[in-house]
């Protein structure tokens, strides 16, 4: 019997909120090397933002020990996966490191779009899937319906799916037994040439980059010179070990095992997820398949807010980049907002996460501008430019045409909302591919949508129209020509570059009007009238006016309550600090991100 027979490498896959992290916590508690009292709730989601949103962005992986009923002790490597469409590539690499996956389905909710998306990723990696029904402690659990959905929609046999409650621990032992039985042990040759997959990495200020890896063939130990096959860089290994989930040094890692490697690597971009590690002295011939470069799909400007130092922002962005290969930035200069950075993200959530971390972890006050996608601008001279900042769009007379990124979106919804979703997608220039009744009451809609219609508030609009029941999954498919124009906004007749956007020509008028109306609500009254104009080139297409304020006075200072009055004034002053001055016009900072959130239903 080989040592491989006692290893199981697996992930837990689930839709947001279906209980993945809670189940991981229970497993760590039952079989892990962390004392229960040292556990924070949801151990694997270790960033505050992740905990608050109930999602996982940065991976954690952990080694568990389980003594099964057959008397054998098994090493279970639980490999975490991020839980959002922005991170599909990262999910797929984590899954590639596994031999099986536990599919958690909320027995009160059934199968959702993301469940399906993740299952397909797992099937692509040829993983054995063990479905489990979670939240069985709730009265609203409908295990039979959920089981039927899994069989009907996903096509997996769910008749023996364990019924568990990750929250109470009910059924988790049975699930572990089943896991050892269903998920196959890893294959691999410990005496072969080193072939190891990087499925995550993070930066540690003492050890440098810590690579999370699954060894497919061969061995690696301290002192070895390793090579990243796609980037071609060599490093000397300074430490290897297991993740428990903190680092526990070991003598070596060998085929079938999961652990970490350190090699004085300066930034995570040098240990890119999906890359293959081999030995420089005795390299394997072929890297593992599936490596992709990180590609930013969404961009926005990040500028220091009034009173915030440019240097501080730069510092923070650099620190974040060290740990996030998918995030990139370069200096940008805006006439309206001054010096700042143009930042690239995998998607909108990734952008939200980064901006929130700037505020929370670095205590920075920043202004984020409207997100934009990357347009391919084909010039009349044949040159093709990648433009992600509307201000950089060349003179329209020199442009042959513009192409925009298109995504394929899969929306799963209870059937009563189909009409509402169709009108939403239509309003966003969507093209319906097909519609499928997955069950009698659940429908899957497939649409092609321009990405720039999805990044503003599509998800919010979708949720609000379906009372939160619809779910969305999307992926980039291609670039496609479109009639697009640059929409400028002028405040008090002054162009505010940070408010420019690229919009479809056909909806420019409506968008311009919407933005002007929104700004009218956001911009406070001044001592003078402030005209707000939307323009395409020289042509004004919409206009609103913020009237001059006439009254801001507290008639009575009640009963000598000076403190109350003072609090009011202090609040007023603090409100003003959150504003940005443009010539004589003061604009609240949220204007830059809020202005395009124009749900068409409103």
């Amino acid at each position: 019997m080989s040592y491989l027979d006692n290893i199981r490498n697996f992930s837990i896959i689930a839709h947001i909120d279906h209980g993945k992290s809670t189940l991981a916590d229970r497993l760590i508690e039952k079989t892990g090397l962390v004392e229960a009292r040292d556990m924070k709730e949801q151990y694997l989601d270790n960033m505050d933002i992740e905990r608050e949103r109930g999602i996982t962005i940065k991976l954690q992986t952990t080694r568990l020990k389980y003594k099964a009923n057959d008397g054998q002790e098994y090493t279970l490597n639980l490999i975490d996966t991020p839980g959002h469409v922005d991170f599909n590539y990262e999910v797929s690499r984590s899954l590639a490191a596994c031999d099986g996956a536990v599919l958690v389905v909320d027995a009160t909710q059934g199968v959702e779009a993301q469940t399906l998306g993740n299952v397909y990723l797992a099937l692509d990696e040829d993983l054995e899937i063990l479905p489990v029904l979670n939240k069985m402690d709730l009265d609203s659990a409908r295990p039979d319906d959920a089981r039927a959905e899994i069989e009907e929609i996903i096509g997996l046999d769910a008749s023996e799916a364990p019924e568990i409650s990750a929250k109470t621990g009910q059924g988790v032992d049975e699930m572990l037994e089943k896991l050892v039985e269903v998920i196959p042990p890893p294959k691999g040759d410990p005496d072969g040439k080193l072939k190891a997959l990087i499925f995550d990495s993070y930066y540690d200020s003492y050890k440098g980059v810590i690579i999370y890896t699954r060894i497919f063939d061969g061995k690696v130990k301290r002192g070895d010179i390793i090579r990243m096959m796609n980037t071609g860089k060599n490093y000397e290994v300074t430490e290897v070990g297991y993740c428990i989930p903190s680092t526990l040094p070991a003598d070596e890692l060998k085929a079938g095992e999961v652990g970490y490697i350190c090699g004085s690597i300066k930034q995570v971009a040098d240990a890119r997820v999906g890359d293959t590690i081999t030995l420089a002295s005795d390299p394997t011939s072929e890297p593992l398949k599936g490596y992709k470069k990180a590609q930013s799909m969404v961009y926005c400007g990040i500028f220091p807010a009034e009173g915030e130092k440019y240097e501080n922002v730069k510092d923070a962005l650099e620190k974040l980049q060290v740990n996030d290969a998918a995030f990139n930035f370069e200096p940008e200069n805006s006439a309206a907002l001054g010096y700042g950075y143009r930042c690239g993200f995998l998607g909108l959530l990734h952008m939200d996460v980064i901006t929130e971390r700037l505020a929370r972890e670095f205590d920075l006050d920043v202004i984020t501008t409207l997100p934009s996608v990357v347009y391919k601008v084909v010039m009349k001279d044949g040159q093709v430019l990648d433009i992600q900042n509307p201000s950089n769009l060349p003179d329209p007379t020199l442009i042959a045409h513009i192409e925009e990124p298109i995504v394929k979106a899969e929306i799963m919804t209870p059937n009563e909302y189909v009409g509402s979703i169709m009108s939403l997608c239509q309003g966003r220039r969507g093209k319906m591919l097909d519609m499928e009744y997955l069950t009698k009451t659940r429908v899957q809609l497939r649409y092609e949508l321009p990405l720039n219609e999805v990044i503003y508030d599509f998800f919010d609009a979708l949720k609000s129209r379906t009372r939160g029941y619809a779910s969305l999954d999307y992926e980039f498919i291609r670039y496609q020509p479109a009639k697009l124009v640059k929409l400028d906004i002028l405040l008090n007749r002054e162009l505010i570059d940070a408010l420019s956007t690229i919009v479809p020509e056909e909806s420019a008028q409506a968008k311009g009007r919407g933005i002007c109306e929104k700004l009218k609500d956001i911009i406070p009254r001044h001592q003078f009238e402030v005209p707000i104009q939307a323009a395409i080139g020289q042509k004004i297409i919409a206009r609103e006016t913020v009237r001059a304020y006439r009254k801001d006075v507290l008639a009575k200072c009640y009963g000598g309550d000076v403190s109350r009055k003072k609090k009011l004034l202090e609040k007023q002053k603090a409100g003003k600090k959150r504003m940005r001055q443009f010539g004589t016009v003061t604009v609240p900072q949220e204007a830059f991100t809020e202005v395009l959130k124009l749900d068409d239903a409103k």
């Binding site: 006439r550 009254k551 507290l554 008639a555 009963g559 000076v562 003072k566 009011l568 004034l569």
Partner: protein, 400 residues
């Protein structure tokens, strides 16, 4: 500065709460008025430990409607104040007395007024609010225009030579002409002092609910301001000085008590939810009547919040309260407040420079307000123009 000291006494009872009122007050009939009076007297004695013997410049009994208390209860309160503090013959003692609470029968009214007079109360402040019976009803007031005229006449007969009448304008449905007609009728009663407030919609009031449901619409700001300026002009023509944002007085009849709030003097506050400023501490009493009575009953001060002012708190408050006054705030008084010294005792050198050193970040915007004719900045200090009053919060917020 501690040049003067005032006393504020809060009586949180009314016959009935008005539709716009968010004040702390309870319907008098069902409330523990005598227990409250006892607790109030006890608080006066407790606080006097710290402030005993001070000469008091003004006493203000506000509410609620203080005149709903029985004469004997009011007597006990004033008696206790006299026991603990030095009340001079010329101390201004004001009571808020709503029309129609001075008693149902003329005889009783006269008796109450007589009693107040006897207790040393020398200033009456009456919440008239409007002289239109329809509007009074809409506001939820219990009196009529006729009650007002009668009560003012009776007060004069009893020798009250210093009377304030309150007026509310910008009541939904009211035109500028309506407001000026109200004002003219009030002026005709010849009070020494008039306070004019635009109706403010406060949260958790019947009016706020009506606005929420769409049953009522607020008077637009433009119209409100137009009314305000028309009122200011009418009163000026009638011989009243516009000495504070909402207050007007015949020469020599400015409210000395209100003036304390605006010049950083001490005022000792007693009663439920009352706010005071003593020995550089701002404090606020608890707002729960049971808790108030229980705390005082066990010999403790019923304080909810207390804050010791920093020098910046003091100059900041001196500026924004000072800006409420016609004469504004002088650099000397502001700097004196910063150091908590009496300006009369100690002349302050280089006050202007020191002032703008402290508020250097506000200077550009203050100058902008001055250029737009809203604020006057000169060698002595700062003051609002009549137009500046309309947006005074924006100006005051520069200095907090």
């Amino acid at each position: 500065m501690r040049s003067k000291t005032g006393i504020y006494i809060h009586i949180p009872f009314c016959v009935k709460k008005c539709n716009y009122c968010a004040f702390l007050s309870f319907e008098a009939e069902s409330s523990p008025r005598s227990e409250y009076t006892e607790a109030l007297c006890e608080e006066i004695r407790l606080r006097a430990v710290e402030t005993k013997g001070r000469t008091i410049d003004t006493v203000y009994i506000g509410g609620g409607t203080p005149s709903v208390l029985d004469v004997s209860q009011m007597r006990d309160i004033i008696h206790t104040v006299r026991e603990c503090y030095d009340i001079k013959k010329d101390t201004e003692i004001t009571i808020e007395a709503n029309p129609a609470t001075l008693g149902r029968k003329d005889g009783v009214t006269l008796a109450k007024l007589q009693a107040y007079k006897y207790m040393g109360i020398n200033r009456l402040s009456m919440g008239v609010q409007s002289m239109s019976n329809d509007r009074l009803h809409f506001l939820g007031r219990i009196h009529t225009a006729e009650n007002v005229a009668r009560d003012v006449k009776l007060a004069r007969e009893k020798g009250f030579a210093n009377i304030n009448l309150d007026l509310i304008f910008s009541v939904p449905g009211e035109s500028i002409e309506d407001a000026l007609k109200d004002l003219d009728e009030i002026i005709a009663l010849n009070p020494e002092h008039i306070s004019c407030y635009s109706l403010q919609i406060e949260e958790d009031t019947p009016f706020a609910d009506m606005i929420e449901s769409g049953a009522m619409t607020e008077v637009p700001d433009e119209e409100d301001r137009e009314t305000y300026h028309a009122i200011c002009k009418r009163l000026k023509d009638a011989g009243y000085e516009h000495y504070e944002i909402s207050n007007f007085a015949k020469p020599g009849y400015r409210s000395r008590h209100n003036s304390l709030y605006w010049d950083m003097s001490d005022y000792i506050a007693f009663g439920l939810g009352a706010s005071g400023f003593v020995n550089n501490n701002r404090y606020k009493n608890v707002s729960d009547i049971e808790e108030y009575m229980k705390t005082v009953g066990s010999g403790e001060l019923p304080v909810d919040e207390i804050h010791e002012n920093t020098p910046f708190d003091n100059i900041s408050e001196a500026v924004f309260t000072g800006l409420r006054r016609q004469e504004g705030i002088s650099y000397e008084d502001a700097i004196a407040a910063y150091g908590r010294v009496c300006p009369k005792d100690e002349p302050v050198a280089g006050a202007k420079e020191r002032f703008w050193e402290i508020f250097k970040e506000a200077k550009d915007e203050a100058d902008e307000f001055a250029r737009n004719g809203l604020l006057i900045i000169d060698e002595e200090g700062l003051r609002l123009t009549e137009q500046g009053i309309d947006i005074s919060n924006a100006i005051m917020a520069l200095f907090v």
